[in-house]
Symmetry: C2
Subunit: 155 residues, 2 copies
């Protein structure tokens, strides 16, 4: 895929995340995109990312996908709210203040998963989002996430 | 380390988790133990498990550690509440209903991390726990977790 995701617009020094950093050689390198008012990320987990059962996905991966996807969505949403197009300048980096995941049903392994997020509120440096994990057309987990914008000059 | 952790007492068919399954060849294989009224798990993340910054741990790993450690602690606590010693029979398997992580401060990479959990309530098949992630003596994240016991015959 050559389309740029939100994470491709992070400054280099913030691009080392195992989940979404384009500079993490061993990472999952997830990418997030706008899809109307929502954002979407599609990811097929590696074969070893199973839960207790060998045919289900482990909960930590689901939390990770929601976390990285919501950080990217928060950054893109704030960027847009501030009046910028994607690519006009690097995105600000957001870090997670709080991540809550409700696991609705087991998530099957061996499939491409979809994570969707919706921005609920942007309040100064804070962005609140809801997220859903979808597998084979069914919502298997829901997330509530609070992201906080780092100052652009932070290290 | 030869001491058996809670996860060593899971039945084989529930031991495939990337985070804590002893049968997941590529997994982290975390182990949890009682430490008085609390439970403890120590884990040094792999070098690539960094966050946006190369010297910090990514949030998804922190969520994963809390998730697996609390599932094990819930199983061991229910086992004990039901009157059994560890090893007397396999532990029941618990799955995550809800996982909330509050990230207090960045977690430094390159260190052994400690996850501690405390059982708040056991109510039939549900166990509610609080967790803390500790790095270099400081609490960097706090968790609130609800675990639900699977029927022992479930697949």
């Amino acid at each position: 895929m050559t389309q740029k995701g939100f994470q491709d617009y992070y400054p280099d020094e913030y691009s080392h995340c195992y989940g979404c950093g384009r500079l993490n050689k061993n990472g999952m390198k997830i990418k997030s995109f706008w899809d109307g008012d929502e954002s979407v990320c599609r990811h097929t987990p590696a074969q070893h990312c199973t839960g207790g059962f060998p045919d289900k996905i482990y909960g930590g991966l689901i939390a990770s996908l929601m976390d990285c996807h919501c950080a990217g969505t928060a950054a893109a949403a704030k960027h847009r709210a501030d009046g910028f197009e994607l690519g006009e300048k690097p995105l600000s980096r957001f870090v997670t203040a709080s991540l809550k995941v409700d696991y609705i049903k087991p998530t099957p392994a061996g499939l491409e998963l979809e994570v969707r997020a919706k921005v609920i509120e942007i309040k100064n440096r804070k962005v609140i989002l809801n997220a859903e994990l979808i597998a084979d057309g069914a919502v298997t987990a829901k997330g509530e996430v609070i992201m906080v914008q780092l100052p652009d000059e932070a290290k």
